[in-house]
C-alpha cells in the first residue's frame, strides 16, 4: 500500500512539475496535456475511489489504484522518451547552427583570400 502511495505521490509531483514547465514554455502542450490527464485520474482515484474501483473491475483489475499504477507506467515511459527525443533533436539543431556558422565564417575567409589573390 505504501508503495502505491509513493507511486501516486511521484505522479502528482511529475504532473505539477509538467504544468510548471509548460507555464515556463519549456515543454509542448501535448506533453502537458498528458500530464494533466494523469492528474485528473489521480484526483478521481483520491475522491471517487469507490466508483473508480467499479470502473477498474471492468478492466479486470480489482483495485483502482493498481489500475492507475499499471496505466501510468506506459504513459510515463512515453513522456520520458518524448523528453529525451526532444533533447536529442535540440542538440542536433544547435549542432546544425554551429556547423552553419563555421561554414559561413570559412566561406567569408576564403572569399577574402580569393579577392586578395
Amino acid at each position: 500500500m505504501t508503495f502505491k502511495f509513493i507511486v501516486l505521490g511521484l505522479i502528482v509531483f511529475c504532473s505539477l512539475a509538467a504544468i510548471l514547465l509548460r507555464r515556463l514554455r519549456l515543454i509542448r502542450p501535448l506533453t502537458a496535456f498528458a500530464f494533466s490527464f494523469l492528474i485528473f485520474t489521480i484526483l478521481l482515484e483520491l475522491f471517487f475511489y469507490r466508483e473508480f474501483d467499479e470502473l477498474s473491475l471492468f478492466f479486470g483489475v480489482e483495485n483502482s489504484a493498481d489500475l492507475l499504477t499499471y496505466l501510468s507506467i506506459p504513459v510515463l515511459f512515453i513522456l520520458i522518451l518524448k523528453l529525451y527525443v526532444n533533447q536529442v533533436l535540440n542538440v542536433r539543431r544547435v549542432n546544425r547552427i554551429i556547423t552553419e556558422l563555421a561554414l559561413e565564417d570559412a566561406r567569408k575567409t576564403l572569399q577574402i583570400h580569393r579577392d586578395e589573390q
Binding site: 542536433r92 549542432n95 554551429i98 556547423t99 556558422l101 563555421a102 561554414l103 570559412a106
Partner: protein, 228 residues
C-alpha cells in the same frame, strides 16, 4: 604533390600536435582542411600557421560533427576529386594515405578506401591488447548489423571519391559517425575496399584517444540516436 585530394583533419585541443600533422600532410597533399571542433587552446592558430585552411566550430560537437562540416566545405567550396579524413593526433602515416589514394586512382570501380589495422600481422601487434579486443568486438557487431565485410570499423583514415561522398547522409555528431559511414556504404551499395595501414600508438595519441569503455556509448548512440 597530389592537388586533387583534400584532407580533412578534425581537431580538438591539438595545439601541440596539429602543426606537425599539417606539415607532414603538406609533403604529399596541397589542400589540408582542419576543422577545429571548439578547442580551448590554440589549435586554429597553429593549424593556420602551418598552412591549413581552418574551419572553427564555436563549441565542441564531436568528431562526427567536425567531419560533416569538413565534408560540406569540401563539397560546396572546392572542386577536389578526392576527399580524405585523417586524425589530428599524429597516429596515422601520410604514406598510408598516399598509397590509399594511389589505390583509388588505379581501381576505378572502387569509390571509397578505408584503412584497416587488421590486415597485416605487424599492424595487429601494434594495437594494445585491450583496444584490439574492443575493436574486434566492434567489427563483429558492425559486420552483423550492416552485413558488410570489414575488418576495422573505427579507423579514421579514409579516402572518398567526390561523387561517392556526396551520396552520404550523415547525422551523428559523435564518435558513432564511423558506424554511420559503414551503414551508408552498405545501404547505398557504395563500392569500397580496405587498405592495410599502421597506427602509431604514442603516449600522446593514447591519452587523446577514446577510452575502451566508450565503445558501449558509441554503440548506444548509434542504435538510439540514428533512429531519432
Amino acid at each position: 604533390m597530389r592537388d586533387e585530394v583534400g584532407v580533412i583533419v578534425p581537431a580538438y585541443n591539438e595545439a601541440h600536435q596539429i602543426a606537425k600533422t599539417v606539415f607532414d600532410l603538406k609533403t604529399q597533399f596541397s589542400v589540408i582542411i582542419v576543422v577545429d571542433d571548439g578547442s580551448a587552446d590554440k589549435t586554429s592558430d597553429e593549424a593556420r600557421k602551418a598552412g591549413a585552411v581552418v574551419i572553427r566550430h564555436i563549441a565542441n560537437m564531436g568528431q562526427g560533427g567536425a567531419l560533416q562540416t569538413g565534408f560540406r566545405f569540401a563539397l560546396e567550396q572546392t572542386h577536389l576529386s578526392y576527399i580524405a579524413t585523417f586524425d589530428a593526433d599524429g597516429q596515422h602515416r601520410v604514406t598510408d594515405l598516399a598509397q590509399m589514394h594511389d589505390y583509388l586512382t588505379q581501381n576505378p570501380e572502387t569509390e571509397v578506401v578505408i584503412g584497416s589495422r587488421f590486415l597485416t600481422e605487424k599492424s595487429i601487434t601494434m594495437i594494445p591488447s585491450r583496444r584490439r579486443l574492443i575493436l574486434r568486438l566492434g567489427t563483429w557487431v558492425s559486420r552483423s548489423i550492416h552485413n558488410i565485410k570489414i575488418t576495422d570499423t573505427h579507423n579514421g583514415l579514409r579516402i572518398f571519391k567526390r561523387q561517392a561522398l556526396s551520396r552520404f547522409e550523415l547525422k551523428l555528431f559523435g564518435m558513432d559517425h564511423a558506424s554511420e559511414i559503414l551503414e551508408e556504404l552498405s545501404k547505398k551499395q557504395i563500392a569500397f575496399a580496405e587498405f592495410p595501414v599502421e597506427i602509431a600508438y604514442s603516449e600522446y595519441s593514447q591519452s587523446k584517444g577514446q577510452s575502451s569503455l566508450n565503445a558501449f556509448r558509441i554503440l548506444y548512440n548509434f542504435f538510439v540516436h540514428r533512429n531519432i
